[in-house]
């Protein structure tokens, strides 16, 4: 792996872009902060801790998914991918470089949520480590989904619509802003939660609800969700690796 390239790319296309185009960061924070406000008002603050924890998951997952737009734009419009195909950069290097750039986009938002988490006395060191791990798995899995989408899209214009829909379905509908038990307690709730688990945000949110003490730990559910998150991250990454049109046919 060309780690130097991965880090350089992430530095230039991640951190430098935050400095030069902060509107992107603000835009990515808009939905989770708006939902946090709505949850606060509707529940008179009762579920606000869910919205703080879930907001961070939504933020990272939606940035990962929205990266499909960037990946498609770089491939089809700027022809950047073609430039790197004819070099020593491998498809894995390129995917990791873009993924790390998107993680860099998330950093200012993550800082906002860390501040909120501290304000609501949500974090201790162990929780923070669990959250860090969840963020890494989320950005890997959602970026992989975005690569799968971007390699199938033939026109840049199509990707924006797909990404907007997916971003809502995969980050807001899962139990990110409400207790996961609200789904499980309904008829067919078990099936629904597994369907929702196609989005990595679902297992991540349930694990986070256990980790931050928002829900009493049910070990069978915890292990299942950890397993689902790990397996789907590997599966999405593998599919992305083989679907990415590095050399076209």
């Amino acid at each position: 792996m060309n780690l130097r390239f991965v880090l350089t790319f992430a530095w230039y296309y991640g951190f430098k872009v935050i400095k030069r185009g902060p509107s992107y960061v603000v835009a990515s924070l808009t939905t989770p902060l708006t939902l946090l406000f709505v949850v606060y008002i509707l529940t008179s603050g009762a579920l606000v801790k869910y919205a703080v924890v879930g907001g961070m998951i939504t933020l990272v997952a939606s940035i990962g998914l929205q990266s499909a737009g960037d990946a498609t734009f770089l491939r089809l419009q700027l022809r950047l991918q073609d430039l790197y195909v004819a070099s020593r950069v491998s498809p894995t290097d390129y995917m990791l470089a873009l993924t790390l750039s998107f993680l860099a986009f998330s950093v200012p938002g993550i800082l906002v949520y860390i501040t909120l988490g501290i304000a609501y006395h949500l974090y201790n060191i162990l929780d923070s480590l669990i959250m860090l791990l969840l963020i890494l798995l989320l950005i890997l899995s959602t970026s992989a989904i975005s690569f799968i989408i971007s390699s199938m899209v033939k026109h840049v214009r199509n990707v924006w619509g797909i990404v907007s829909v997916l971003s809502i379905i995969m980050t807001v509908i899962p139990p990110t802003f409400y207790p996961y038990t609200d789904i499980m307690s309904r008829n067919g709730g078990n099936i629904l939660i597994y369907l929702m688990s196609l989005s990595p945000a679902t297992p991540a949110a349930i694990i986070a609800q256990f980790a931050f003490g928002l829900q009493p730990i049910v070990y069978s559910t915890l292990y299942t969700m950890v397993g689902i998150l790990l397996v789907e991250t590997i599966v999405y990454l593998t599919i992305a690796r083989y679907l990415t049109r590095w050399r076209e046919n």
Binding site: N2, R4, F5, T8, F9, Y12, Y13, K16, V17, R20, G21, L74, Q77, L78, R79, L80, D82, L83, Y84, V85, A86, S87, R88, V89, D93, R247, E248, N249
Partner: protein, 279 residues
């Protein structure tokens, strides 16, 4: 340097882009010339390992572009048609990032990027976001990548399309500074004549002629091109223009008001081969 043997490309929509072409390219600068859709970009993309051929074989320094792609990629640079720099990054950042991707150390990339940007005349603009650069400067940013990479073979797909005459001259000057062998595509005959000795004429997926500019134009002898909007007997018709090739001393006989006499160029090869003629 480059050997192409019965290379064929059929796209999924059944469009046959290359029809079993064979060629050898060994000049310092080789130009592949042809109209839009002739197959130039397809050929270049296969040679630069970006696209799989349907059949046939191509090698660069005896390395197969399909089976030895990883080794080929270490020795080539390919600048895609209509490539555009990332608008928010500066030329220096784009060039050094590309070089690091090619295995340069951070310090070597920095030095090579600065030297190359200086060589293509982008020194003053090196720290400006690419969004603020002109079209010519953006193209020169990519030529700087090729220059700094110092690879054995450089593929440039229509490097000057859409540029103004001054920018075009600047890019030509930068291309001449490239260390490795250059293969470029263009539909500007003047570009082929200025930059290269070896020219391949491509039309409808086939190489219809090849040679040095001088040898290709030899068949015209001392003739000139007479163009007229009025019908001329035994003339080629391109759109509404009639074209006839006549010895230089006879040209005045064909001239009437509004007609032109032009020096022979590579354009005329396409007209003579019938590819530019419209009924």
């Amino acid at each position: 340097m480059i050997n192409i043997n019965k290379l064929r490309k059929v796209y999924s929509d059944h469009n046959v882009a290359l029809k079993d072409i064979s060629a050898e390219m060994s000049s310092k600068i080789t130009t592949i010339i042809g109209r839009n859709g002739a197959g130039k970009t397809t050929l270049l993309r296969i040679l630069s390992t970006q696209l799989m051929p349907t059949s046939g074989k191509a090698t660069i320094f005896d390395l197969d572009v399909v089976h030895d792609a990883r080794e080929v990629r270490k020795r080539i640079v390919s600048i895609p048609q209509e490539a555009s720099p990332m608008g928010i990054l500066t030329p220096f950042e784009q060039v050094s990032m590309y070089l690091i991707g090619r295995g340069f150390s951070r310090n070597d990339a920095r030095k090579a990027a600065l030297d190359a940007l200086d060589a293509v005349g982008l020194h003053d603009a090196r720290n400006n976001p690419a969004d603020t650069l002109s079209g010519g400067m953006k193209r020169k940013c990519f030529v700087a990548m090729a220059l700094a990479a110092n690879s054995d073979v450089v593929f440039l797909d229509e490097p000057t399309t859409g540029l103004d005459p001054i920018s075009r001259l600047e890019v030509w000057s930068a291309i001449k500074k490239l260390a490795g062998n250059v293969v470029l595509t263009t539909h500007y005959m003047e570009e082929a004549e200025t930059l290269s000795k070896e020219v391949f004429l491509v039309e409808s997926g086939e190489i219809i002629d090849r040679g040095t500019v001088k040898s290709l134009l030899k068949e015209f002898g001392d003739k000139v091109r007479v163009e007229s909007y009025k019908k001329m007997d035994n003339a080629f018709r391109v759109g509404t223009i009639y074209i006839k090739y006549v010895p230089k001393e006879q040209a005045p006989e064909f001239l009437s008001e509004g007609d032109n006499i032009r020096k022979i160029s590579l354009d005329d090869l396409f007209i003579m081969r019938g590819v530019a003629i419209e009924s």
